[in-house]
Amino acid sequence: MNWHHIITVYFKELRDSLRDRRTLISMIVIPTLVMPILMFGVGAVMTKVFKTARDEASPLIILGGADSPGVVAALKADKRFRIVAPGGDYKQLVSEKKIRLAVEIPEGFEAALKAGSSQTVTLYHYEGEMKSGLGVTAVERFFRDLREKTIEGRLTDRGLPADVVKPFEVKRQNVAPPEKVGGNLIGGLIPYIIIILCFTGAMYPAIDLTAGEKERGTMETLLCSPVHRVNIVLGKFLMVMTASIATMCLTLLSTGISLAVGGSLFADGRTAATAGAAKAAASAMPSIDPLGIFGVFAMIAPVAMLFAALLLTISLFAKSYKEAQSYVSPLIIVVIMPAMLGMLPGIELTAQTALIPILNLSLVCKEMLSGVWHWNYIGLIFGSTCVYAAVALALCVRMFNREDVMFRA
């Protein structure tokens, strides 16, 4: 190994890559913008759409109810609902999303209530459709209130207190610290996004520095220099890793700024209408263990090494940029799958899962962002990923020394 050669190759590749628009976009532009766009763009639009749908009066049809004018009048008077005159097939209207649901009030409903017998109200809705679901929830709440009032009336008539049917209450109280709650809520998502960006950040430089060089004819020029191929590989590898880590750092930075700016915006109430809403919005911003962010940074470093070495090795096989893209692009799925598995609730960190690359990182990052530090697993994951990265790097050097790979016709 000759460090002078490695550093010379590294700085040349760095300069060259910083002048490449594709690398700049994947290394700097995307990681800087993705979090603010997700949080303030997509997040804000989703919140607005949901709020509009929730606040809008649910259009519904009442089926029957001719002999229950009180209930029908109460439904009509409720601002949460907009009663549509029955006409046509109500099932089709629900399916076509023209109304959110149809409420069937059985015959003799009010009379049965007075007589003390039980009746069933049927709600015809569109399973899985958000607006229909919101309408169903509101109508259910309406009938629950009516039921409670009816029970209360029946108890009063019999001279009994309301507590007779409510002998005790069940109350939920969160005891987990806010960072643990936050870690659980977004702890799976943050490593998932970082892993993908780490991979895409390394992808374009890796292709450009191998297949791109072969296609442009500069690889042969470089191989004519009196430099051992291992030094060329290491210089290129360091550059790809730099791109990967730069992507990760920029993502973390933009996430941190987005959270801070988002939090303060909500807390100041500039975007929320009232102080109460502002407080609620601020508390909705999940808090995570700040040390966990540094933990994620440290744990992703060997994964960046692994990605850099693997991507260089695979791209080197290709003769052209396009060919390399077709080899490397499907790999994103291979990376996404274990990262997604890490977000599932049943999958926990064990000695076995700690040895599965990417999945182990996803799981341990979730724990670290919740403020839980399993040092034995952290050591095992860091060590095993370093070993995988070293094997991938050795493979890459081997590929660089293969004539059939370097001069593939």
Binding site: T8, C224, F407
Partner: protein, 253 residues
């Protein structure tokens, strides 16, 4: 000095089996001499030169470049060789100065020596006007000058030219030929591959005709003319490879 002894290179091909690209090729090229390697496309010229430049490893046989064995001392060989081919391109996103500096640094030149050498080469090749412009904006002539400066930055004792005039316009090709002559005049050992007969006639001190990976004839122009009883280089070449039929058959393969 270049000395090749029974240099052989075989490749494995899934469809065609084992292919012998270079078959027991032996020759010597001395300092201050241009050795012309003449052959049709696919004759084995590029493979031979890649073996000499240590880009490929010989299957058997040996070769020494400036006293260093190509099989065991690749780094030392490359430190003494300048390799210029149609396939050795420039980094488009670097300027000519950055490109030359990069290869100077890889050849172990210090900052002061590098600056002085770049100035000297820019003077000789008239490059000052475009030295700080990016290579992807260059004309063919500018690219060739930058490539020449890149190969000469470490002042190598041996120069390898693999069809350097391929696809170039007349003026640029002429400047390359002139540059190759200058290399010889400076006492460098030069090997020059081409399939252009006129270039061989004008330029080479010794001519080696390569066909099907084998060196089928070798000598000065006068020796080859006497041996084949022809004045014209093209006729000499066709006779040396065994006639037009043999040439066509080889091209098909």
């Amino acid at each position: 000095m270049i000395e090749a002894h029974n240099l052989t290179k075989t490749f494995k091909d899934k469809k065609r089996g084992v292919i012998t690209a270079v078959d027991h090729v032996s020759f010597t090229c001395r300092p201050g001499q241009i050795y012309g390697l003449l052959g049709a496309n696919g004759a084995g010229k590029t493979t031979t030169l890649r073996l000499l430049a240590t880009l490929l490893q010989p299957t058997s046989g040996t070769a020494t470049m400036a006293g260093h064995d190509v099989a065991t001392a690749g780094v030392q060989v490359r430190a003494n060789v300048g390799f210029l081919a149609a396939s050795t391109a420039l980094y488009g996103r670097l300027t000519a100065r950055e490109m030359i500096t990069y290869f100077g640094e890889l050849n172990g030149l210090g900052e002061a020596a590098l600056k002085a050498r770049i100035k000297q080469l820019a003077d000789e090749l008239d490059m000052h006007e475009f030295l700080d412009r990016r290579c992807d904006k260059f004309s063919t002539g500018m690219k060739q000058k930058t490539s020449i400066a890149r190969t000469l930055i470490h002042d190598p004792a041996v120069m390898i030219f693999d069809e350097p005039t391929l696809g170039l316009d007349v003026m640029t090709a002429r400047s390359i030929v002139k540059f190759v002559r200058e290399c010889r005049n400076r006492g460098k050992t030069v090997i020059y591959s081409t399939h252009v007969m006129s270039e061989v006639e004008k330029l080479c001190d010794v001519i080696g005709i390569i066909h099907g990976g084998k060196l089928v004839a070798e000598g000065t122009l006068a020796e080859l003319q006497a041996r084949f009883g022809e004045k014209d280089m093209e006729e000499i070449f066709v006779k040396a490879v065994g006639g037009e039929a043999a040439l066509i058959a080889a091209m098909k393969n």
